[in-house]
Amino acid sequence: MRISTAHQFETYRARISARQADLFAAQQQMLTGKSFSKASENPAATRQVVSANNLIGRAEQIGKNLITAKKRLSYNETALSEMTTLTNRARTLVIQGANDTNTPEAREALATELETLRDQIVNIGNTRDSRGRYIFSGQQVDTKAFSAGTGTLIYNGDGLPLQAEIAPGERMNVALENPEGLIRGLYDRLNSAINNMRSGNGQTLSDQDLAGLEQIGKSVNLVRGTTGAQIARVEKLNEQNELRIDDLKTQVSDLQDIDIAEAITRYQQAETAYSAALQTVAKGYQLSLMDFLR
């Protein structure tokens, strides 16, 4: 085939240009660390990467929700624990007071301590978390849960659940169930014990108040058990969530990140090819009939 001069040089230019483009592409890969940066470079992988990144974002939000849930449940657990301690102390006092060998003065002392415990119950009922929200108020988190006027306990909350999204589409109630009932039950029982203590009704103290306190102790333990289970579940979900995030990140990396060894090899190949093209052109261009004519 005849090779015209223009065609010859055009071919040189085109080859050098093509090898240069290859070299540049290999460089870009090494600089960005990504095997593709545009959807057009790999449409199928792009879909998977975008989808995986969205799942990672969602899982990270779930992670934050789980941390918030756990903090809240811990406050619940602490309050319940204090209630248990208080209930046990009250039982001890009632057992002591039920004994008819007590003097009225002794019984008065016990009643006074029971009054202190009763007031503490209200305080427990008004526990606040680190952000100042009342944990017994249900959804009325900024409203003080209990006010004890002159001997009557008023509940200002609504006892409604607080839902948190702990898994995609899944909710958990992180508020205490029946907060009014828990506190009021103990409050009323203590009031009863105080009255019976002052009235010297040892038998009633033993039959009703002690039994009542024991019943309350069991109820509180039940709620503590439930709360403990919730905390365990949240911890487990957190673990699983973190594993899921790791998995997804690995997926994205597999799809998008280059293998450094492979990239370096490709770069060296491109460099060699470019160098070869340059050398070939330099040699080829030097040959001309004019050099040989006298």
Binding site: I3, S4, A6, H7, T46, R47, V50, N53, A69, Q139
Partner: protein, 457 residues
């Protein structure tokens, strides 16, 4: 009957002919870099003989050499192929260039893209719903919504900007084609004047061919050569050049139909850069429509749920997205939410700890919507991105293939009509030697004539 100066005459034809031959070689060398130039070849033939009376009858005595013609080495079939390919490649290349820009508007996959903003938006609602009394979570929702609206608005206006540039390029193409048509008509006139059955004005034809190839690459024009040497040029079935008159293209572009119209005639343009620009404009119209659908669906759906809630200021019926504007262009947060993040409602009861509404909004991300073709927000957008990416990839491959074909055709054209300096050098040596021989012969004839004249002293 040959005269005494027959020999001198014969040899001097050689001198003249070979000198012209060298001129043609010189012309070729001078035009080695001229685009569209096809090398010219001098053909020689013998001059008409003179009668010579011999003992056995009349013989023909040669009279030397004449230049038969100067022809250019062009291949009309290859020229036609080159034109067709130029049109196809022009379309693909122009479309691909625009597609690369269009793809760049979204920049996916990216943490700064619309897909990520969509995800973050719904994530923020999940956070608010799980802890509605935390003020930072309201701010997170507002920030995420602000980012989402901003990115969608920006993408839409970027499409506008690119469309403007492409439209301007398309108009430039039309103007250029009109100019070329006028030039071709002028050349038609001159070429017709100089053409005979055997000789053609080669340089003018080369120039005209170059213009025709350019018109092909711009609007997919094709041409037919007439007997008088003129060419008739067509585009989309309409005649642009006939003889020495030309007509401008209709100038109103209808990108979605792929036609040009001037109210009187409508011609389809299926080839050339102009077709590529129209493809790009149609693609951008499609992208903007997609963004509109996304924005409108978000606005209607999210606002619809949100307005049933009571926000931290005790108000109800508040919108997240501004309802006084439509589409992606006007997609923004409502004034109330912009002014105060507490305008965002987390629940329907108004209680500080009620996050049910926010959780419902978060759940909307998985809802299939009829307005989005039965898809959810995230998958709707992901599909659009992947479709665009596939289109770009496909066009790039097509473009590369057409370029390779074009280079092949050009290579063949060059093989036939391109100037090779080495070859011209060789021809030059041949003609130079021939000229030397003829000149040497002339001195001999001169001496012979001198001898002849010397007899009559």
């Amino acid at each position: 009957m040959p005269g005494p100066f027959q020999g001198i005459g014969t040899v001097s034809t050689a001198l003249r002919a070979f000198q012209r031959g060298l001129d043609v070689v010189g012309h070729n060398i001078a035009n080695v870099n001229t685009p569209g130039y096809t090398r010219q070849i001098t053909t020689f033939r013998t001059a008409a003989p003179t009668d010579l009376y011999t003992a056995s009858g009349i013989a023909a005595l040669g009279n030397g050499v004449r230049i038969d013609s100067i022809i250019s080495a062009r291949d009309l079939v290859l020229e036609g192929q080159a034109g067709a390919n130029a049109g196809a490649y022009g379309r693909s290349a122009a479309y691909t260039a625009a597609l690369t820009q269009i793809e760049g508007v979204y920049g996916e996959p990216s943490a700064n893209g619309i897909a990520a903003a969509l995800g973050a938006f719904f994530d923020a609602w999940s956070g608010l719903g799980s802890n509605p009394s935390e003020p930072a979570n309201r701010l997170q929702v507002r920030n995420a919504a602000e980012t989402l609206t901003s990115r969608i608005r920006t993408a839409y206006s970027e499409m506008d900007r690119i469309s403007e540039h492409v439209s301007a390029s398309a108009t430039e193409v039309i103007e250029r084609v009109d100019l070329l048509a006028k030039e071709v008509a002028k050349l038609n006139l001159e070429i017709a004047r100089f053409s005979t059955s055997t000789n053609r004005p080669n340089d003018l034809i080369d120039q005209r061919t170059l213009m025709l190839q350019e018109m092909s690459s711009l609007v997919g024009a094709n041409w037919r050569e007439q007997k008088d040497g003129t060419v008739t040029v067509y585009a989309g079935g309409a005649i642009l050049v006939e003889g020495q008159s030309s007509r401008p293209l209709p100038s109103t572009i209808d990108a979605s139909a792929g036609t040009l119209t001037d109210g009187v005639i409508t011609i389809p343009i299926r080839s050339g850069q102009l077709a590529g620009h129209m493809d790009a404009l149609a693609q951008m119209q499609g992208q903007q429509q997609m963004l509109n659908e996304l924005a409108n669906s978000l606005r209607a759906d999210i606002n619809g749920v949100h307005q049933t809630g009571i926000n931290a200021l005790g108000q109800t019926g508040i919108h997240i997205f501004d309802e006084s504007s439509t589409g992606a262009e006007g997609f923004r947060l409502s004034d109330q939410v912009l002014a105060n993040a507490d305008a965002i409602a987390a629940g329907v009861s108004g209680s500080a700890g009620d996050g049910g509404l926010a959780l419902s909004i978060s759940d909307r991300r998985d809802q299939a919507l009829a307005a989005l073709g039965g898809k959810g927000f995230e998958s709707f957008f992901q599909n659009a991105i992947v479709r665009l990416g596939s289109e770009v990839s496909h066009q790039q491959t097509t473009s590369e293939a057409l370029l390779a074909v074009g280079q092949q055709i050009e290579s063949q054209r060059q093989s036939i009509g391109g100037v090779s300096l080495d070859e011209e050098m060789t021809d030059m040596m041949r003609l130079q030697r021939s000229y030397q021989a003829a000149a040497r012969a002339l001195t001999v004839f001169d001496e012979v004539t001198e001898d002849l004249l010397g007899i009559i002293r």
